[in-house]
Symmetry: C2
Subunit: 561 residues, 2 copies
């Protein structure tokens, strides 16, 4: 970065000019003026106006401040998608604190690991997840303050009795007691706003972190990329928004920030139960949402059960590749979906389907195919396809290589893990570990994956971790876990096992039992237990004796074993 080129005297700022930082507070500017009467709902439990929402953000900031928390402190949230979560999305970073969105789908071990790694001083805890943090004084000693939320029916007295004694107070009670006036300060836009964890190849989740500036820019670019889509397919001022990517998951793709910035009517669905989601979509006339293909499948099943169709629900899809069968069903059921591509490391959106007139001359089948690809780079995103020597490959729809990226919203490292950060960032580009090709008109297609992980229902599973657990079975000589395509979950783990000669009669269930035990004990998420075991006589290996997972994936997808 060269120094400033022409900031001389003549261009000096006026004495009282306002230096506008790109901080999350500014995302509220438009909504404060244009949407004070618009509503935000939490399922069918709560509905209030933006005017009330702004007051509650102020109240929450006062609660945090009164508790003694300081700018720079980490505040963790364990909740379903609620209006409270949205309030924390704003109040925590706007107070200069760091919001940790805890992935409550991970195994208990991992949840505790992420909390003990990020060291939050406060935790906003939904009663349903209380068992996960056990006795936090011993198991998560950084947490000094626990704020309790409980959606269960009952009186406040009931709730008080149920609250563990370590709890500081109940969310609504504390908010009600706090002032609704808080003067959020301006500060450096490069201040860290959020952190969360992503599972990788090796055992421990890795922390990513994002600044205020990064979130503002991702929010602007991602909403823009969606809005530019052709009639019936883009985000609009008159949309009703509801997330179906959890708020603990990469900022729900920054759409809660985007929807609030635009001032849309919003609905937060709580826990994702297909019947509830579809009920809310129908009752609130939801028009804009997002989710992984697994969610799309659930919606389609539920609506099929009801014998009805969606009325042009716009669904941003990402997280896993959409299958053509699912795509076809979605269109037939009245869902307009827009594929995309992103990562935890990228805030997340990098590419989004751009539907314009270039697609008019495609046949219906070609359209479906196109819709299942990962879209094209959104505004400001730079992409290259590199071969093993770091040489950019042509964008001809055929040449493949590792996808490397630049954008203004990429995590700048991994939290307290500079080695992994330096591995992520090489030569000034972020390495996605995805193998991809790009067509001459900019359509991205992910063809393979360098990292040895499996994505099931939008969540990562470490192959290595599952292999380690299964290898404890006395009959296993060699084991490899790979992801195989699955209509419902995107991918599911499949274990390939070579048995020791003396245990040749071992049954698959016996080996899988180890996986189930690990899940029960909280060492592995339930979705990490392989759906199936295939027995092999010999394990495919590369010329240097490593497991040849590429070959295995081809073998299994071709159903040749």
């Amino acid at each position: 970065m060269t120094t400033i080129l022409n900031q001389h005297e003549d261009y000096r700022q006026a004495e009282e000019a306002y230096d506008f930082p790109l901080i999350i507070k500014q995302l509220l500017n438009r909504a404060k003026i244009a949407s004070s009467d618009q509503t935000i709902s939490y399922a069918n439990k709560v509905t209030y106006t933006y005017a009330e929402f702004f007051k509650r953000i102020n109240r929450l900031a006062n609660v945090l401040k009164n508790t003694g928390l300081q700018p720079g402190d980490v505040v963790a949230v364990m909740d379903w998608d609620s209006h409270r979560y949205l309030e924390a999305y704003f109040a925590v970073p706007m107070s200069g604190m760091i919001l940790q969105t805890v992935n409550i789908r991970l195994s208990e071990d991992k949840v505790l690991y992420t909390i003990n790694h990020a060291k939050p001083k406060a935790l906003l805890l939904n009663a349903e997840f209380a068992p996960m943090i056990k006795d936090h004084r011993d198991d998560a000693p950084s947490i000094e303050h626990v704020i309790w939320v409980d959606d269960a029916e009952g009186t406040k007295e009931d709730m008080k009795e149920e609250m563990p004694d370590y709890v500081e107070g109940e969310y609504e009670t504390m908010l009600a007691a706090a002032s609704d006036v808080f003067d959020f300060p301006d500060f450096d836009e490069n201040t860290i706003a959020t952190t969360f964890y992503t599972s990788g190849t090796t055992g421990d989740p890795k922390g990513v972190f994002f600044t205020h500036r990064q979130i503002v820019l991702q929010t602007m670019a991602s909403t823009l990329a969606s809005a530019l889509n052709t009639e019936g397919q883009g985000a609009r001022y008159n949309d009703v928004y509801m997330p179906m990517t959890p708020l603990f998951h990469v900022h729900a793709w920054c759409w809660p920030y985007g929807a609030t910035m635009i001032g849309l009517k919003q609905v937060y669905p709580g826990r994702y139960v297909p019947e509830v989601l579809v009920d809310l979509i129908e009752q609130h006339k939801v028009t804009l949402s997002h989710g992984v293909p697994t969610i799309l499948q659930m919606l389609l099943n539920e609506m099929a059960t009801r014998g009805r169709k969606f009325e042009g629900l716009k669904l941003l899809v990402g997280g896993s590749k959409l299958s053509e069968g699912l795509a076809k069903s979605a269109i037939e059921s009245g869902i307009e979906f827009m594929s995309g591509f992103g990562m935890s490391e990228s805030c997340p959106v990098l590419a989004r389907m751009a539907f314009g007139d270039k697609r008019d001359d495609l046949t219906p089948t070609e359209q479906i195919n196109y819709r299942c690809l990962s879209g094209s780079p959104i505004m400001l995103v730079s992409m290259e396809i590199w071969d093993e020597n770091g040489k950019p490959q042509p964008m001809d729809g055929e040449s493949t290589g590792e996808l490397v990226i630049r954008a203004p919203w990429l995590t700048q490292s991994y939290f307290k893990n500079p080695e992994a950060g330096n591995e992520l960032w090489r030569g000034g580009w972020m390495h996605t570990q995805d193998i991809a090709c790009i067509t001459s008109d900019g359509t991205l297609s992910i063809t393979d994956r360098l990292k040895d992980v499996i994505k099931s229902g939008g969540e990562w599973i470490s192959s290595l971790e599952v292999e380690t657990i299964l290898s404890f079975h006395p009959s296993v000589a060699d084991v490899a876990v790979i992801g195989v395509p699955d209509e419902r979950w995107g991918e599911r783990p499949l274990a390939l096992v070579v048995l020791k000669p003396e245990y040749i009669d071992t049954k698959a269930e016996d080996i899988l039992a180890l996986g189930h035990q690990a899940a029960e004990k909280g060492h592995l998420p339930k979705y990490g237990v392989p759906s199936e075991i295939k027995f092999l006589v010999e394990m495919p290996k590369t010329s240097v004796g490593k497991l040849d997972k590429k070959k295995m994936r081809i073998m299994c997808s071709e159903k040749s074993i």
Copy 2:
């Protein structure tokens, strides 16, 4: 601005991470991958692909560099809207130089004033404007290099003969001779990218200036605000874009940047001749444009002459208030227009009509009324209405006061004019000098103007300047010039004159003749000559003896004199 809050060790950037500056270069990222085959046309003279456009940007950067220009140098452009202008929009600031977009509609005096104030070292000069800079060595001594462009039919030899001897070379010849490879560096996003001049109340135009960051953010927010509009009214990936706000005019509202960022098909129309504009709209199937109400009126007249209608042309309107009659005609003629509000000082867009479901229940007349207002604040823009003591007024659709603003893209002062800059920025807010009210749903309505200027056809006229010229007539005792609503031009200057008793028989034409002479000599733009003179016996004054222009405007709009 407080210091960074939580940039400690743990969040340190990876060694080879890329620090992404918001510089104009990055606006090309998406188009480079997704739109290399898309086309850009200059009227019916030139059509080339984005791939060629990128090469020509590189060539132009090499031309500038080979000429000996340095980062920080000012490069001025005097051209009609052409592919060359678009190339300069990118190549000049991407080279770290400052693009001066010269307003060729100003009087010759003023054009020279702006050049001698900004002191460009190079000038890209369309032959048609050569008379304006006269002998630049004497009249505009800062200019060391003149690059010649000429669209006239004829051979290169003809052109060479016509070129003044001070010309360095002809644009196409120089581009052809330069390499199409140029490695644009990264630099600080707060580097100044552009400068241009705005006419104010007092005589001399004032220079505003914008950084790379400001232009990138305005481009993102302004395109987003347009794209979110409901079906048939928003910017889309499949639009064909053509500017009808000149490229010398507040970056043509940053749409050339936006259209290129998205990768749209683009058409540049050259000089704005109504028949040519409509021909181009029909031939190229233009779907997205922008302009002042005067341009809209021209389009409607031309299309009426042809006995045809537009097919849903989306037109972003701004610069002056749209009259309801014009709005109605536009809708009837198949133009979907979206009003907005902006200023030279604000890059420019601050507000834009947001058309969503809130408008569904309006009657057609109410819709027309709503469409003539100035829209609501676009993303990130903060607005307040202040009374004379700087106290924010309620947004109730009734309380009026001065509109003050904050946004990430406001000029931070006036160029070499810190006093005026400090007047613009008071108390951390930019003072628009517009009197406005805002409804509870965020719709802005400009009701009056504090500054004593008139806007005719999108260009400012200084009342004071016209008053000074007319006051030279020996029969004039007192003169005041005000703007009166005009169907075609938005406003036109009207002169109110009190004659000296001894010259009571003087005719309006005699006094106006002074205005026409000033225009001929290049001291006043032609549109600055009042359309009419009204004679008064006494001039309305305030209690402190100042001209009471507010009263005059009411008198004249009520046609009570």
